[in-house]
């Protein structure tokens, strides 16, 4: 079970993030009033991802202890995005906060993920799965981003719970820093 969750949950998350991207973009476009703001929101995501990535490398606590919360955090944000019904006045502000949190979590997750043994195994599966799901989605006529974003948010949240549950169960046997590279600078 541990193997399964550790092996497949990151795959679900990375594939899901790429698949949800077009829907998230549709939503983001609606939420940003101008093209400039649209691009700035991406920039905020990127800067924050760099910070997340770097903080993973500089962490003191074992990384794995954060991962379930990271999934739940991402899931929570996507759930909020999918269900938000606020006035257009505040939406750009909320979106900026969402972008910063998502960017941070994604950067952190990526830094952790690439250090897992399963990462290289995932790469091919990841690309193939994304391709197939995208083709599949082209036949789905529901184009409301909110529905997809909510579903993805729920999946992420469940992934977080699975991971958390497994981590607690296996904490005794889990060896810290198993797959982690030492920082070289």
């Amino acid at each position: 079970m541990k193997i399964l969750s550790e092996r497949y949950v990151p795959l679900v998350v990375t594939v899901g993030q790429v698949v949800i991207f077009p829907y998230y973009i549709l939503w983001l476009k609606e939420a940003s009033l101008t093209f400039t703001l649209f691009t700035w929101l991406f920039a905020a995501f990127s800067f924050s991802a760099a910070l997340g990535y770097r903080l993973f490398q500089a962490r003191k606590k074992p990384a794995i202890s954060f991962i379930p919360f990271l999934y739940m955090g991402m899931g929570g944000i996507y759930l909020l995005v999918g269900n938000i019904s606020t006035s257009f006045e505040v939406l750009p502000y909320l979106t900026l906060i969402f972008q910063v949190i998502l960017g941070f979590l994604q950067g952190y997750h990526h830094a952790w993920h690439i250090m897992q043994n399963t990462f290289r195994l995932h790469a091919i599966n990841h690309y193939l799965l994304v391709g197939m799901i995208m083709v599949g989605l082209s036949f789905v006529k529901i184009i409301s981003p909110a529905i997809f974003i909510t579903v993805f948010g729920t999946i992420l949240f469940i992934c977080g719970l699975v991971f958390l549950f497994k981590k607690n169960k296996d904490s005794v046997i889990f060896k810290l820093g198993d797959n982690e590279e030492t920082e070289v600078e």
Partner: protein
């Protein structure tokens, strides 16, 4: 590949968590302050329904014609006469009662008809096409050290749209806007192009100005200008019962050229406190100061949004407004810049609600009695009411003998009211009932209301306040026998 220690150090700076954290913070703050104010969506469209500034009266139109040449416009008007079609005229559509469109009409979009034709520095005049905005005119005349005589408080309107409502603003010396036009070229409802002056025996100007686009298209006008004077801003806090005397004194001593005031709508000082802003002559002229751009709209809007919450927050907003105004005391400003009030901070786009303007005119000598009656009529705290008042600005509107459908039959104060209410039928009816009551109260004091806004008033109220409506109507039928120029405003009040 080998790297030197120096290079290593350089590389690592951008990987430093503190550096990255600071970058994220700075970036987020800069995005936050630069998130644009959301603009309301309105305007001319053929694919869906056309609206104006408030979107209260959506209507399908036949087509939009972007005004190009005079002959093209003339052809459209002549064809409309032959084919019994109707035409409406649109400037920037800041009017709020369907003045710029009509069901199945051809809408002339005048915004593209905006050339500056001639500036005469010696006689201080400008000849300009009427789709130009005040801003366009200011940009053209500012290098010559010239300024407009009369405009609205902001420069965002077209000249055609402004003259068609005979607008007024902060100037207190030059009288009505219509009086600042020396010459006008008009495309009449029957398709003739005429150039007329104030002495024209047919009195075209008297019908066209304040004529709401019903007497043909104003093609160009020659406007009288004045010097771009430099003023010192004087601000003062007053009680509303002191204002009449204060203003009479201001008019008597001709040291002040522009003026406006704001009355509190906050619960604790409701219609009791006010502040005034005077622009006092310094004797200096200006040729160089840049025209100011709107800045800080986001913060202005945030402050207004706080005021919009009502109750204690509206009190807080009022106290802050007073502080802000006090901080302007003693500053210098050019005439051109004093005519460029901000507007973006007023944007409001909450689904299911609308913000509208109404303006009531009351004779100068009646102000005090009017305000005390109004205090009894309106609730001081509208926090839990659907009908909310967010602002009252007071301006002076001098007696107008230049237009027939005139709102200033004597020297008046215009009270511009910023109102918010819901869009459900019940809520609109409630707003109508309040505004009709308010109109009756104004009428009791010998006042009236301004016509570019949404028609909350009844036809009876309109007729009482504008007794010349009948003559206006007869003349409309005479000069536009085929009823070519049409809009929702005319349909409501006259047909």
């Amino acid at each position: 590949m080998e790297t030197s220690p120096r290079n290593n150090k350089k590389q690592s700076i951008h990987k430093n968590p503190w550096f990255l954290g600071t970058l994220v913070c700075i970036f987020v703050i800069s995005v936050l302050v630069n998130i644009p104010v959301e603009k309301r969506k309105y305007g001319l469209t053929q694919s869906s329904l056309t609206t104006d500034y408030t979107s209260l009266l959506p209507e399908r139109i036949d087509r939009i014609v972007k005004a190009g040449s005079r002959t093209e416009l003339q052809k459209i008007v002549k064809e409309a006469n032959e084919n019994r079609q109707q035409i409406s005229i649109a400037g920037l559509q800041h009017s709020q009662g369907g003045h710029t469109y009509y069901k199945d009409s051809i809408v002339l979009d005048m915004k593209t008809f905006n050339k500056i034709l001639k500036i005469d520095k010696q006689h201080k005049t400008i000849k300009v096409e009427t789709g130009a905005t005040w801003e366009d005119v200011q940009e053209a005349i500012q290098p010559y050290g010239l300024a407009l005589k009369v405009t609205q408080s902001q420069s965002i309107f077209t000249i055609g749209g402004s003259l068609s409502v005979n607008a007024h603003g902060r100037d207190i010396t030059f009288g009505p806007m219509a009086g600042t036009v020396r010459e006008m070229t008009i495309l009449t409802p029957t398709g003739d192009i005429k150039t007329v002056t104030r002495n024209d025996s047919e009195e075209w100007m008297k019908y066209v100005f304040g004529g709401y686009g019903l007497f043909g298209v104003i093609l160009d006008v020659t406007l009288e200008l004045t010097e771009n004077d430099v003023y010192t801003i004087h601000t003062e806090e007053l009680k509303t019962n002191e204002y009449e005397a204060y203003f009479s004194n201001l008019l008597r001593n001709d040291g002040t050229s522009m003026h406006y005031a704001r009355v509190s709508v906050a619960p604790h000082s409701f219609l009791n406190e006010m502040y005034v802003i005077d622009y006092k002559n310094t004797g200096k002229k200006d040729h160089q100061t840049e025209l100011k751009k709107e800045r800080g709209a986001r913060f202005g809007k945030l402050a207004l949004d706080i005021g919009r919450q009502g109750g204690a927050l509206e009190d807080l907003f009022w106290e802050n407004q007073k502080l802000l105004i006090k901080s302007l005391d003693g500053d210098e400003i050019t005439r051109n810049n004093a005519m460029r009030g901000n507007s973006a901070f007023m944007e409001f786009t909450k689904p299911g609600r609308v913000e509208v303007l109404q303006e009531f005119f009351v004779p100068v000598a009646q102000f005090e009695e009017y305000i005390s009656d109004l205090r009894r009529f309106l609730p001081s705290n509208d926090k839990n009411e659907d009908f909310k008042i967010h602002n009252i600005t007071v301006r002076y509107a001098a007696k107008d003998d230049y237009t027939y459908l005139n709102y200033a039959k004597g020297d008046m104060f215009g009270l511009v009211i910023l109102i918010q209410h819901g869009l459900k039928e019940k809520e609109i009816d409630h707003a109508k009932a309040i505004i009709q009551g308010w109109t009756d109260l104004t009428l009791k004091h010998g006042g009236g209301y301004y016509l570019p806004y949404y028609q909350y008033q009844t036809i009876e109220q309109f007729r009482k306040i504008y007794p010349s409506w009948e003559m206006f109507h007869e003349e409309k039928i005479k000069r536009d026998p085929n009823g070519v120029f049409q809009n929702i405003f005319y349909d409501y009040y006259f047909e």
